[in-house]
């Protein structure tokens, strides 16, 4: 993870895929909304026990978490904490891969 971007590195071919990134949707403010990707620094990452997907969490007053495919970077689910929350600095996935916990 780096800034707002999840990075999938194939270290054999030394190539990368990404979760997030792209053009901003508010050119005046230079901002991206958080519907499909992180729009602030990612503070925590956890990969599922079967390594099929990852969960990342971000900082900010209305932080979001995303689960995304660990092979393709495709978004699976978005989770939000209410406005006024603090940044989410860690997350964890249950052993059966059904639940995700995060702490703000």
């Amino acid at each position: 993870m780096t800034a707002c971007l999840g990075v999938i590195l194939d270290h054999n071919s030394n190539t990368q895929k990404f979760f997030g990134g792209g053009e901003v949707n508010d050119e005046r403010r230079g901002e991206q909304n958080d519907h499909d990707m992180h729009n602030d620094d990612i503070l925590g990452l956890e990969i599922s026990p079967d390594r099929s997907f990852a969960v990342t969490c971000q900082r900010g007053p209305k932080p979001t978490c995303f689960s995304w495919d660990a092979a393709t970077g495709e978004k699976k689910m978005r989770f939000t904490l209410p406005k006024g929350s603090r940044g989410i600095n860690c997350c964890s996935i249950s052993g059966d891969g059904k639940y995700m916990a995060c702490v703000d």
């Binding site: 030394n14 026990p49 600095n89 052993g95 891969g97 059904k98 995700m100 916990a101």
Partner: protein, 285 residues
């Protein structure tokens, strides 16, 4: 706590009045026990059904702040303390402590494949065999350990200096490198390569075709603030160590302007020290 399938929130409760640094689920399939670790506390949560929380009991072992936490496959929790110790927890009671970090706090922990991996601020990863906690290996790096993973004899270690190390068969290989503190400000080309400098006290030359870091050098070992002030930055480095611009010439000369107004000239990117430093500027760059 959220359901990963539906996205719905299934559990929410106030944690502790102190800051929480890490959380971890019990890895046993079907278990929803959660541990949270933070300043001067550790708590165990039953998140589904009874929904209760209990504080960890240190007993005769010293109280500390717990920086990181994990569970092993047997349902035993481990936390890394600010005092450099790994705490082993059985049914929320501390069962033992073991020294893991030579100095500073334990900054990363992971229990997998019958082993416990604990990384410290000192840059050392200590490998313990479970459940007896005997030390089987130690691996040292040149920066604080931020994350550890292990699978099939391969260990990945993420470091504070922006690099990811692959450890296999006793060999360390850097598989990813980056600037890591503040912003990247300087960009130029050098003999077909790309040269960048940033607020992390580094100048890095990248081989774009191979997509690898070719070499790096330090902007300045001196920690000096400019009397004229400095530019806004997210970096934790002193102004003399924050680079604001880099210019490269075809003859190999690299010129770096630091935020404290000084300009350093190297005759080669692999040189150990600059050949000249210009100090005339009274303004920050």
């Amino acid at each position: 706590m959220f359901d990963l399938g539906s996205g719905g929130q299934v559990f929410k409760q106030a944690g502790d009045k102190n800051k929480i640094y890490d959380c971890a689920f019990d890895r046993k399939p079907g278990s929803t026990t959660l541990v949270t670790a933070g300043t001067k506390h550790i708590k165990f949560w039953e998140t589904i059904g009874e929904q209760k929380k209990n504080s960890g009991i240190h007993g005769d072992f010293p109280m500390t702040s717990h920086c990181v936490a994990c569970f092993d496959d047997e349902g035993i929790a481990y936390t890394g303390g600010h005092n450099g110790m790994v705490y082993k927890w059985e049914n929320r009671h501390c069962a033992s402590t073991t020294k893991a970090a030579k100095s500073g706090f334990v900054s990363a922990i992971r229990a997998v494949d019958g082993q416990l991996f604990a990384g410290g601020k000192c840059g050392t990863v200590t490998v313990f065999a479970l459940p007896d906690m005997s030390v089987t290996n130690t691996v040292s790096f040149d920066s604080m350990v931020r994350a550890i993973d292990h699978q099939n004899g391969n260990m990945l270690v993420g470091l504070r200096n922006g690099s990811i190390m692959h450890v296999s068969g006793g060999a360390n290989k850097e598989i990813m490198a980056s600037h890591h503190d503040g912003e990247v400000w300087g960009l130029d080309t050098l003999k077909g390569k790309v040269c960048t400098s940033g607020d992390d006290n580094q100048v890095i030359v990248w081989d774009v075709e191979k997509r690898v870091k070719e070499s790096s050098m330090i902007v300045s070992n001196e920690k000096r603030q400019s009397k004229a002030g400095r530019a806004s930055t997210l970096s934790h480095k002193a102004a003399s160590q924050c680079s604001r611009a880099v210019v490269c010439r075809d003859n190999g000369v690299v010129v770096v302007a630091a935020n404290d107004g000084r300009v350093h000239v190297w005759d080669d990117v692999k040189a150990s020290a600059p050949v000249a430093t210009l100090t005339e500027s009274d303004e920050w760059i």
